[in-house]
Amino acid sequence: MSALPRAAITGVGMSDIGRNTGRPAMLHLAEAADRALARAGLTRADIDGIATYPGKADNSPGMSPLGTGEVRGALGLKTRWHSAVPDGPAQMAPIMVAAMAVMTGQARHVLCFRALTESSSQSAGRRASIAGAGKAQIGGWLSWLVPVGAMSASNWAGWIANRYFHEFGMTREHLGMVAVAERQFAQMNPMAVMQKPLTMEDYLAARMISSPLGLFDCDIPIDGAAVVIVSAADAARDCRLPPLSIEAMGSALQSPETWDQRADLTTMGAHDAGADLWARTSLKPADVDVLGLYDGFSIFVPLWLEALGFCGHGEAKDFIAEGNIAPGGRYPVNTGGGQLSGGRLHGFGLLHEVCLQLWGEAGARQVPGASTGVCGMGGGFIAGAMLLNRT
């Protein structure tokens, strides 16, 4: 193991998320921060670093209404280090750079946040989460998608899913098992947005969005915020809960910045990051008790399972059908309901849930004795993975 000081997660908090809350993003953020600080046993005065993804952005309505400057101002933080990371290993980027900041002595306790008001923004008559919406021209990687009619990430995920179905015989029922399992978890999580039962019949009967993905294959835009506090290992010892040591991080990316040119589109950046993660630890997938896998679309869950080595390439459909990821399964995934049923907090919600599990705070959905968790964020060419261990 390296001689560098370690980093750990010492607190997490989530606001009362909801659909069309009409509540300003900053009030969601302040609530999430209060809850994370209370869980960590820290005060605002202890926070000396701040990080977010992607930073204040207007590329789609309500996608990122807050930057580090406003949050520092509102919370009255005096920081020694701050960073917003729009161009990194997916939504995991701020957690990773925060870990590096505390490992190199730039800060002791870093408040990492993600806030979204996509639900209110869309209800206010603005467009759905469409990249480049309202612009006359678009550049960068989006320019190879949006002008040719592929305006929604559901289109991009749709062609990944169709190729995967074609090569490996996966069917919509397999993706339905992901959606149904996450809804079962959501029903055990009072903070999850979707509480109604979801049956396979409901799933299959729902309207198509972008084939083969239907309504229940898509995550749910919400208003809300989540905060994750990353602390230096020595500082973490002063916190209320056992530190969740960041055992390894993976952020490798070996293909270009596109959604259609990767040689094998039954793999994603996740596969590069996943392999990199396990190259940095002596732990193995079999050591993992609980998983948080990016589920902006249901198809990303089987791809992340393969990317992280929980099963072989093409085997995820059987792995899922055997019940591994569902309540009571050996490798429970997105136990808070995920983004499909809990709401889209852009990966931060998934990490929040993994941390609750490792602290034994997951209530009715608690995985008994969970001490090691993995979280993978991102789809397509962006991906970041993190392995956590309760010390």
Binding site: R127, A128, I130, G132, K135, A136, Q137, I138, G139, W141, S143, W144, L145, V146, P147, V148, G149, A150, M151, S152, S154, N155, G158, W159, I160, A161, N162, R163, H166, R207, M208, I209, S210, S211, P212, L213, P256, T258, D260, Q261, A263, L265
Partner: protein, 134 residues
């Protein structure tokens, strides 16, 4: 109205070749690699002699999706979008909507031929099933 691509020195040939009915792909003048999306440097050999040339405009569907959701008020649905492996530019795919009356007939492995529609200053690619191509 969906956004159009911002034109750059590298990508202008791709987005305007349709005026001549040509699908234009960038190739490295030194190692012959197809470079797509087009860029100033060849990623394989770092040559700056990357230049566009017309290709056959035929290919095979690698994957596709049928979009059913009207993301814009004027969007007509459903329509298919195909990700097509080009026949004569190894490793390059061109993603474009499919010109067909029945999007549910699009299949992986289907042969496609390029077509274009003018929009603003650019010519957007479309894929036509080869059996329908004139």
């Amino acid at each position: 109205m969906r956004p159009l691509p911002e034109l750059t020195p590298e990508n202008t040939a791709f987005w305007t070749g349709g005026e001549r009915g040509e699908l234009t792909i960038a190739f490295c003048g030194d190692c012959r690699k197809a470079v797509h999306p087009p860029q100033l440097l060849c990623p394989a050999c770092q040559s700056q002699a990357v230049a566009p040339r017309a290709v056959a405009g035929t290919g095979t569907v690698y994957s596709f999706t049928v979009n059913h959701q009207p993301w814009l008020p004027d969007m007509k649905v459903p329509f298919a979008i195909a990700v097509v492996d080009l026949d004569d530019a190894p490793g390059v795919r061109v993603t474009a909507p499919v010109l067909t009356d029945d999007p549910d007939t699009v299949r992986i492995g289907q042969a496609m031929t390029i077509a274009f529609e003018a929009s603003g200053d650019v010519w957007l690619p479309l894929w036509k099933p080869a059996e329908q191509a004139a």
